[in-house]
Structures are given as structure tokens and as C-alpha cells.
């Protein structure tokens, strides 16, 4: 414990130097926390907008089949624990025709309550309400604005069979994506069955959401195997987004690594200077009987004190930066993640301790005679 006491006293004897290096560590750790949290939140936001309100896996009819059975949804969710919702749907392409335009529409038919579990439509309505009674349709905001279709209007669609159909628009949704808001439309299961000429027990696909979006590839492969169907997963269809995210994570990791290296070099050089400044004291302590190990521990303790102090300051500063960022109007918010912050703190303190190894070693090797003789 004497080593600790001496370490604390040494730090206190040069308060400016100690404060400066702690500030250095604090800025480093704060940068790490901020950049790390920023990237994590940004990516969570990107992934959420990419797949938060769409299917993670779509089960399609297998070879030689044109439909999937009605019980596939229930069976798929029974066989995989990661499935949070599985919705049987009937999908068709219709063409909206008005006086001067003809616009393709991707129409999904299904149970309103079940569709809501995937698309969250009831919370994303900008007009009317999310209601899918017989013959009712909801369309997206972009479509609505472009073609002047509003809640309460009629929507004329040319079905794949060539026959026309008319639906009543019960609401307008905003899924947060321009394409979806222009091309998507939802109708009830019965109307879709009529349009496609399907039986009550026949569906075109099952749309699935998972509790872990990144498990989609494995789960899709297993489901395809087990139920003899085609399984499309979002990761396979979004390779570009994913490689973009990976590149972003990589560069964020690199920034963090360089920040840590800078912090380590800062601590190491400060401690090395301190070790030189305190050579005389170490020599005296050794002359009157302090052991090599205890003498070396003085610098380990100095590093630990600087590391802990700097890291605590860094966490406070990191939270302050994140809070400050909350004031700036950006389309997503940064959430500080306790796990990541604990990791940063752990790394900060470890780096501090590691950078004390060299001064601690040279201190433990110092021979008291060098000091006693040189006055």
C-alpha cells in the first residue's frame, strides 16, 4: 500500500502534469464512446429503416408449386424460436391507371392485424386509418401525392388477369422509404384471393420477421430445407447495404484504435518523464530498503490512478457529447450503450496499465547507488 501512497503523492506533487494527462485520457475515451455510440446508433437506425418494417425472410412456393399452404406460417414459427412473427400473404402486381398515367403497384393482401406486426402500419398512417375491410386498400404517401389519391377516394386497378378492380382507399401510410411509399399497397386477404383466383387455404408467400435480423440467412436456409420451399432473406438482397455497414464499422474501429494508441503513447511518455523526474526519490527509497517490485508498483499505481481518473472523466465527457448531439436536429438519436461504455472504460484502464510497464520496469531495475553517488 506504500507504493499506492507514494504514487498518489507523486501525482499530487505535479498537479498540472497529472491533470493534463488525465484530460488527454478523458478526451480519448470520450471520443471512443462518442464515435462508437454514434456508429452503433447510426447503423441500428439504418438497419431499422431497411428491415424494421419489412419481411426479414419471405417463404415462397417450392419447385413446381404455385402457392404455399395456409398452415406454413404457423409451422414455420413453431419450428424456429427466432421467428417473432410469420404472416401468410397473397401478393400481386396491379397497374393503377388514371387519365395520363399507368403505374405498377405491388399489392400485398393479408390479415390487417398480422400485416401490422411486420409493417407497423397502424402507427404509420398520415391520412385515414389502417383498416382493411372487404374491398379496402391503403396506399403510400408518395403515391398519394403524385396521383392525387386521398383517403376516401376510389382506386382503379388493372389486375394480372386483365380484369379491372376498384378499391376504396381507407388510409395513406408512410413507411419511411420513397419506393415503398410509391409502389406498395395493402388489401385484405379475401380481395387478394379473388384477384388471384386462390382458394381460402392458398397463399403466395409467408413473410417472417425475426428477433435477430442477422440470423436471417441461417434461419432461411433451415426453413427452406425443412418445408421444401424457397426462402429469400433480406441479407442476401441487401449485400451492398451490409458491406457498407461493415466498412463503416471497420473505419470506426480503426479510428478508435488510433485514438487508443494516442492515449497510450500519451500516458507512456508522461510516466516515462515522471519516472525520470522521480529517479532521486526512488533511489532514496531503495537505499533505505524498498524492494524492486514495490518500487516498480509505484508507476503501475500512477498509471492506474491516471487511467481510472481519466476514464471516469472520459465517460462523463462522452455522455455530455452524446447529450449535446441530442440537441442538434438529426434524423436519429444516439443512445449511449452501457456495455460498450464499460468496454471502453476497461480498455482505457488496461491501456493505461500497459503503458506503465516500461517506466515500472526501469524503476524496478534502478540501482540506488546511481542516485547516492551522483548527489
Amino acid at each position: 500500500m506504500l507504493s499506492f501512497k507514494i504514487a498518489a503523492r507523486f501525482l499530487k506533487s505535479s498537479p498540472g502534469q497529472s491533470a493534463l494527462i488525465m484530460a488527454g485520457i478523458a478526451v480519448g475515451i470520450a471520443t471512443q464512446i462518442f464515435v462508437g455510440s454514434l456508429i452503433t446508433s447510426l447503423q441500428a437506425d439504418l438497419i431499422d429503416s431497411a428491415v424494421g418494417s419489412s419481411a426479414h425472410i419471405t417463404l415462397l412456393p417450392g419447385d413446381g408449386q404455385t402457392t404455399v399452404p395456409g398452415n406454413l406460417a404457423a409451422e414455420a414459427s413453431g419450428s424456429e424460436t427466432l421467428v417473432s412473427t410469420a404472416v401468410p400473404v397473397r401478393t400481386l402486381s396491379g397497374i393503377f391507371v388514371d387519365s395520363d398515367d399507368s403505374v405498377p403497384l405491388s399489392i400485398t393482401g393479408g390479415d390487417a392485424g398480422l400485416l401490422d406486426t411486420i409493417y407497423g402500419l397502424s402507427e404509420r398512417m398520415t391520412q385515414g386509418s389502417f383498416r382493411l375491410g372487404e374491398g379496402e386498400v391503403v396506399v403510400g404517401t408518395v403515391f398519394s401525392e403524385k396521383y392525387g389519391i386521398e383517403a376516401g377516394d376510389e382506386l382503379d386497378v388493372l389486375l394480372p388477369s386483365g380484369s379491372p378492380a376498384t378499391y376504396e382507399v381507407s388510409g395513406v401510410f408512410d413507411l419511411g422509404q420513397a419506393t415503398a411509399n410509391e409502389r406498395f399497397a395493402f388489401v385484405d386477404a379475401g380481395s387478394a384471393a379473388d384477384a388471384l383466383g386462390m382458394d381460402d387455404d392458398e397463399y403466395s408467400a409467408v413473410q417472417i420477421q425475426l428477433t435477430d435480423v442477422f440470423a436471417s440467412s441461417e434461419v432461411a436456409a433451415r426453413l427452406a430445407d425443412e418445408f421444401d420451399v424457397e426462402a429469400a432473406d433480406w441479407q442476401a438482397e441487401n449485400e451492398q447495404l451490409l458491406s457498407g455497414l461493415a466498412a463503416q464499422s471497420g473505419s470506426s474501429a480503426m479510428i478508435q484504435a488510433f485514438v487508443l494508441i494516442a492515449v497510450a503513447l500519451g500516458i507512456a511518455s508522461t510516466l516515462a518523464i515522471s519516472a525520470v523526474q522521480k529517479t532521486r526519490q526512488i533511489g532514496i527509497l531503495k537505499a533505505i530498503g524498498m524492494g524492486d517490485a514495490a518500487a516498480g508498483r509505484i508507476f503501475l499505481w500512477q498509471a492506474a490512478l491516471l487511467g481510472v481518473g481519466g476514464t471516469l472523466g472520459g465517460i462523463a465527457l462522452g455522455y455530455a457529447l452524446i447529450a449535446l448531439f441530442g440537441v442538434v436536429p438529426v434524423p436519429f438519436s444516439i443512445r449511449p450503450e452501457p456495455g460498450f461504455i464499460a468496454l471502453s472504460a476497461g480498455i482505457g484502464i488496461t491501456v493505461a496499465l500497459l503503458s506503465s510497464v516500461i517506466p515500472a520496469r526501469s524503476t524496478s531495475r534502478l540501482d540506488p547507488i546511481e542516485v547516492i553517488q551522483n548527489g
Binding site: R9, F10, S13, Q281, I284, G289, M290, P368, I372
Partner: protein, 233 residues
């Protein structure tokens, strides 16, 4: 009385080749427990070198040092640290205090290094020592706020605190005035008489040497004289 210290054919060569300095050329003598002896000699004669070897601060080029029956040449760094802490007290030629610590902390540092909390006995001894050295009331002061003479007296107090068997002092009163010098030697004498602590004091001041019981003279790295001195204190 038993031999506390045996210096056996101690040689010390600094440097190598053409620039080598033979600071000690085979010095042998023994010191019995309870002796009060001085080492005299001109500047550069090898007094400090000899004291550093005996104090296990440095290792001889050849020869050995036996302390309390133990051959210290065979000890590792750890063992030598232990002997320095428990068996020896140092007063260096230049007062060596820790400037970051108070007078009290400097005084009790040997006990702290040994990992001990001060006993009531040690506390009162520390206070007594401060009083004897004319340092009362200064215990809370930082060591670097003291005058040179005050620092030297704290260093002397520190050497006494662990009740070592042997106190090695290199020009302990070099920075002190006549009155303080007399006080310090009186204190050394008292401790020597009451506790049987052995003293080996380096000085180039003949008058100081005359107050010790035995005078060892070093000249050019050799022990040239070793005489009993009848001191009538």
C-alpha cells in the same frame, strides 16, 4: 564482543581499461558490536566508496562484506534491500529526503517500507528524536520547506528510527553549524551508549574524528591506519 561487520579484502574498480579507477585496493577490517568509529581520509581517498560497499548499496569488485554473521555478497537484490531496511541506517553525504513528503512521513519511511504501522512506542520515539534534533513542531512541514541543516537532521532521525544495528554516516554534519554538530554527536553517543548501536562515521574533520573511539584512515584506496582513540567525552 562479537564482530558485527567484517570487511574482507574489499576492492572496487570503477570503469574499465585505461580509464579504470581503483578506488579501493583491498581493505580489510572488522567492527565489533557497539563500536563508535570514524573513517577519515582526504577527498577522493575512497571513504564513500567503502561506506557504500559496507552499506550494501554497491557491490565490491572483489572481497566480501559480512554483516551480523551473514555473508552479504551471496545475497540477491531482495536480500540486500531487507538488510538495508532492517539492519542499517544511512545518513548520506548529501541529505536525501523525499521532497513530496512531510518531515514526519520521511522520518517514519523505513517502518512504512517494512510494512509496519507505527507502534505507540515508535511514535513516542519519533517525537523524542524530533525533539532531540531540535525539529519539534516541524513534523507537518514538507521536507522541501526545510533549511539544509534541518534536512540533514531529519535524515539523521530517519537513520535512527528503525533501531538499526549499524549506522553508516557520510559527513553527517557537513552542513551543520558548530552547535548543531555537537548536538548530533551527543545524540549519536547517547544512542550508542543506551542501545548499543554501532556507528561508522565518515568525516574529513579531524576534530570530529577525535571524538570517536576508533579512527580508520584511508589513503588512496588503502587502509593506512587503524587506531584506538581515548575519547573522554
Amino acid at each position: 564482543m562479537a564482530d558485527l561487520l567484517v570487511a574482507d579484502a574489499l576492492e572496487k574498480v570503477y570503469g574499465e581499461g585505461d580509464t579504470a579507477t581503483r578506488a579501493l585496493k583491498g581493505v580489510s577490517f572488522t567492527v565489533a558490536e557497539g563500536e563508535f568509529a570514524s573513517i577519515v581520509g582526504q577527498s577522493g581517498s575512497g571513504k564513500s566508496t567503502l561506506l557504500n560497499l559496507i552499506g550494501l548499496l554497491d557491490t565490491p569488485s572483489s572481497g566480501q562484506v559480512l554483516f551480523a554473521g551473514e555473508n552479504t555478497t551471496a545475497l540477491g537484490r531482495k536480500g540486500r534491500s531487507r538488510v538495508r531496511n532492517e539492519g542499517l541506517g544511512f545518513v548520506f553525504q548529501f541529505h536525501y529526503l523525499l521532497p513530496e513528503f512531510t518531515v514526519w512521513e520521511n522520518l517514519t519511511m523505513p517502518a512504512q517500507i517494512a510494512g509496519r504501522t507505527l507502534s505507540a512506542d515508535e511514535r513516542s520515539r519519533a517525537l523524542e528524536t524530533l525533539a532531540l534534533l531540535g525539529l519539534e513542531g516541524l513534523e507537518k512541514k514538507n521536507a522541501n520547506q526545510l533549511s539544509g541543516g534541518q534536512k540533514q537532521r531529519v535524515a539523521i532521525g530517519r537513520a535512527l528510527m528503525n533501531r538499526p544495528k549499524l549506522i553508516l554516516a557520510d559527513e553527517p554534519t557537513g552542513n551543520l553549524d558548530t552547535k548543531n554538530t555537537a548536538t548530533v554527536y551527543e545524540l549519536f553517543r547517547t544512542i550508542n551508549a543506551e542501545l548499543g548501536t554501532t556507528f561508522l562515521i565518515v568525516t574529513h574533520d579531524r576534530a570530529v574524528a577525535q571524538q570517536t573511539d576508533r579512527i580508520l584512515e584511508v589513503r588512496d584506496g588503502e587502509l593506512v591506519q587503524d587506531v584506538r582513540n581515548d575519547y573522554a567525552g
